[in-house]
């Protein structure tokens, strides 16, 4: 079945962005208090009020992370959703990205004009490692959290490409330094050095402690609106140029865990929508989902920024540094901030901040087009968007 559009879509603008200062434990707020903080900041950024919002789309990772079943029911009041439509998206680790895309579709389809989308995780309420490790009969156990699942795939990447084992620590060192420029980032390691990353304990060989993401409490919110809403925006909006989701099965003999086909297809769809033919040259900044440092070179290849086997060379050459040719995770990335369900939306929001010129100290100069990327499950769910400073022409 073709996906030809019968009617033109409404252009979608991001006019408000808000996030919390991400920390290991927000003991001072409830879950409701946490999400409200991010939502209120997004509304303030857009200079809108709760009454301007037509619908709420909320996402987070598994309910077991906080121990609340379908928490959006309890959060309806805190998010000003009473009397409005409220949708709850859950697509594993990619959920923050897919939540934003579901919200953008409401505007693109002209079902609603202005939508609040928000994603959160308050991991201190529970234990994410155990939340992921509930035993189920006849199914593959995941008893060592996500790192145990992904480490063998990193090994496969190293073997396949011949990447030297120094690349992972370069990524971690870069992202943790970038995080120092981001006031909302969880980890602010002022005394970080490359040697410290390399000397950190080995957790899941070849992944070291300092090459893994932290466990964070945090929320991220965005206000998405149509052309009329964008015209009223007090600050420059970011415009959605392309967005897509792709999924593939968790386990089957033909799956390439190093470079999943769903990731390639998802990126190709986004580039087609945005008219991108050479992502390396045409995209100015990338926020990609890198929970373990080695996923930067892996995703550089998967997303088409480097030829197969060449991703690590971009990292090693400094191309992905904040002042490099293709800055990757100028915000500090998932390696510095990981409220799991929100992590994808933070990537999307940081991409939008870049093209709005609102990224502060970690702003990439003259960023006109930026990409946000999220993945989840057994590297099987992908969500991506590409945003630009200009309204799309087609």
């Amino acid at each position: 079945m073709s996906t030809s559009a019968a009617t033109g879509k409404e252009p979608v603008a991001i006019v408000g962005i808000g996030q919390t200062k991400h920390v290991a434990a927000r003991h001072d707020v409830s879950i409701a208090g946490l999400v409200r903080e991010a939502a209120a900041r997004a509304l303030a950024d857009a200079e809108l009020t709760w009454a301007d919002i037509d619908a709420v789309v909320i996402g987070k990772a598994p309910d077991f992370f906080e121990g609340v079943m379908m928490p959006e029911l309890y959060l309806a009041d805190a998010l000003g959703a009473v009397g409005k439509p409220m949708l709850r998206v859950h697509t594993a680790g990619s959920v923050g990205g897919s939540t934003a895309l579901v919200a953008s579709n409401l505007v693109a389809a002209r079902v609603h004009r202005t939508v609040l989308t928000l994603a959160f995780e308050k991991q201190s309420e529970s234990n994410a490692m155990w939340g992921l490790s509930l035993p189920v009969p006849f199914q593959q156990p995941l008893l060592a959290g996500a790192g145990g699942f992904f480490a063998p795939h990193v090994r496969a990447y190293m073997r396949r490409t011949g990447a030297p084992d120094t690349v992972g620590s370069l990524v971690a060192y870069k992202d943790r330094r970038n995080a120092l420029k981001n006031p909302y980032a969880h980890l602010h390691e002022h005394d970080i050095t490359l040697e410290k990353v390399q000397a950190s304990p080995m957790l899941w060989d070849p992944i070291r402690y300092s090459e893994t993401c932290p466990s964070s409490d945090g929320a991220c919110a965005m206000i998405l609106t149509d052309r009329a809403g964008a015209a009223r925006s007090p600050k420059p909006p970011a415009w959605l140029h392309g967005g897509a989701m792709r999924s593939e099965p968790t386990l089957f003999a033909g799956k390439d865990f190093v470079s999943p086909q769903a990731g390639k297809d998802c990126a190709a769809d986004v580039y087609r929508q945005a008219g991108i033919t050479d992502p390396r040259r045409e995209i100015d900044a990338v926020e990609m989902y890198v929970p373990f440092s080695w996923y930067e070179p892996m995703w550089l290849e998967n997303l088409g920024f480097a030829e197969e086997g060449e991703g690590w060379k971009l990292t090693e050459a400094g191309v992905t540094e904040l002042d490099g040719d293709l800055p990757v995770n100028p915000s500090g990335g998932v390696l510095s901030t990981n409220p799991i369900g929100a992590s994808g939306m933070i990537r999307f929001a940081e991409a939008a901040l870049q093209v709005r010129g609102q990224a502060g100290e970690h702003q990439v100069p003259d960023a006109r087009r930026a990409m946000g990327h999220a993945y989840g499950g057994g590297a099987q769910f992908f969500a991506m968007w590409l945003v630009g400073a200009e309204q799309p022409t087609s």
């Binding site: 309910d63 079943m69 309806a76 009473v82 859950h90 579901v102 792709r246 057994g378």
Partner: protein, 352 residues
């Protein structure tokens, strides 16, 4: 038809037999037959579907990311455009309907499923209440529904005899539904939580459902009499029961207004009312008269597979239109304690 950019219809519907327990089936095994049935009904293959969306709950499955396993059953290879809501499948259908409205897809596969049998669903559902102030008290779903039922009786809107009649009518109607879990003459039984008796409460069971949506001429090609979704909307209310008038459902009424329910008479209503008392509330909110066939399938009092029961209401309403038994139907789905969140859809068949 001018309400939205594109005409979208339900073109196929399938559901499992709903059973008290399905120990011998995994969720994947429960879902796969209904997926195969809706695909066979349209002649489409999984790879030809433009968008896929599902609804389920990790808390029923007892594990995180439970939906990843059922996705494997869909056959998502080559990779597909796909999403999931941690909600009843009726909201997955809504997301899919929005996707088709954007023009990015012409067809969508929607499915949902839930197994309540492995645990105590009354206890499990307490975990969806306010986690700081209410959930620690473990007020179960039947007790909360009983509060609502008593409020209705106190307001003079119904009485225990009236409630019993709703249960009896539902199970009698379910006699014609081969998938129903309870049908025929079911005893009203003892009080579960007064004023609700066993007959006022839904059976606990396992089940799955699937629907295929299609736009415009694709729908006409795939289905002899498509069930056009001429309106669909959903609304949520405050969570705290103390902030709501439990004898009313303003969210259902607002959703119905936006979906266009009141613009013309309906002949059928499939209401997701797990408790007999909730049908009283919904009938009032939707302005349904005595001439409307309410829950001809038997409704949730005959089979209430968590996370699928709302999608089944849309499917049952659509199936009546497919069969020529209805021209304009309203379908309703609910979520949360005491009808907190409600979805309303209007489905119409082309007139001869």
């Amino acid at each position: 038809m001018a309400r939205y950019a594109r005409e979208v219809a339900v073109v196929a519907f399938a559901q499992s037999d709903h059973l008290r327990r399905t120990d011998e089936l995994s969720e994947v095994e429960m879902v796969m037959p209904v997926l195969h049935q809706v695909l066979a009904a349209t002649g489409l293959k999984a790879g030809e579907i433009g968008f896929t969306c599902s609804g389920s709950s990790d808390y029923l499955a007892g594990r995180a990311f439970s939906f990843t396993m059922t996705l494997d059953g869909v056959g998502a290879w080559p990779p597909i455009s796909e999403s999931h809501v941690e909600m009843d499948g009726a909201w997955a259908l809504y997301e899919a309907w929005v996707k088709i409205q954007t023009g990015e897809a012409d067809t969508a596969l929607v499915y949902s499923y839930g197994k309540s049998s492995p645990g105590s669903v009354r206890d499990v559902l307490t975990r969806q209440l306010d986690p700081y102030y209410v959930a620690p008290l473990w007020p179960d779903s039947v007790a909360l529904a009983a509060l609502q039922a008593q409020a209705l009786i106190d307001a003079g809107e119904t009485d225990e005899t009236g409630l019993a009649a709703i249960g009896a009518r539902s199970r009698a109607s379910a006699g014609a539904n081969p998938h129903a879990q309870l049908s025929g003459a079911v005893a009203q039984g003892p009080y579960q939580v007064a004023p609700l008796r066993t007959g006022d409460c839904p059976p606990i069971g396992d089940g799955a459902a699937a629907v295929i949506l299609a736009a415009g001429d694709v729908a006409r090609r795939l289905c002899e009499r498509p069930a056009w979704i001429t309106g669909i909307d959903h609304r949520i209310e405050a969570h705290s029961l103390g902030l709501r008038d439990l004898t009313d459902s303003p969210s259902t009424r607002i959703a119905a207004e936006h979906a266009g329910v009141f613009e013309a008479p309906v002949d059928t209503a499939e209401l997701h009312a797990p408790f007999s008392s909730q049908e009283v509330v919904l009938r009032k909110a939707l302005g349904l008269g005595g001439d409307v066939a309410v829950n001809p399938s038997g409704g949730a009092l005959a089979a209430n597979p968590m996370m699928a029961a709302g999608l089944i209401r849309i499917g049952e309403a659509a199936a009546r239109i497919h069969r020529g038994e209805s021209d304009r139907a309203v379908a309703h789905a609910t979520s949360g304690p005491c009808l907190q969140q409600n979805l309303v859809a209007v489905l119409e068949g082309d007139r001869a």
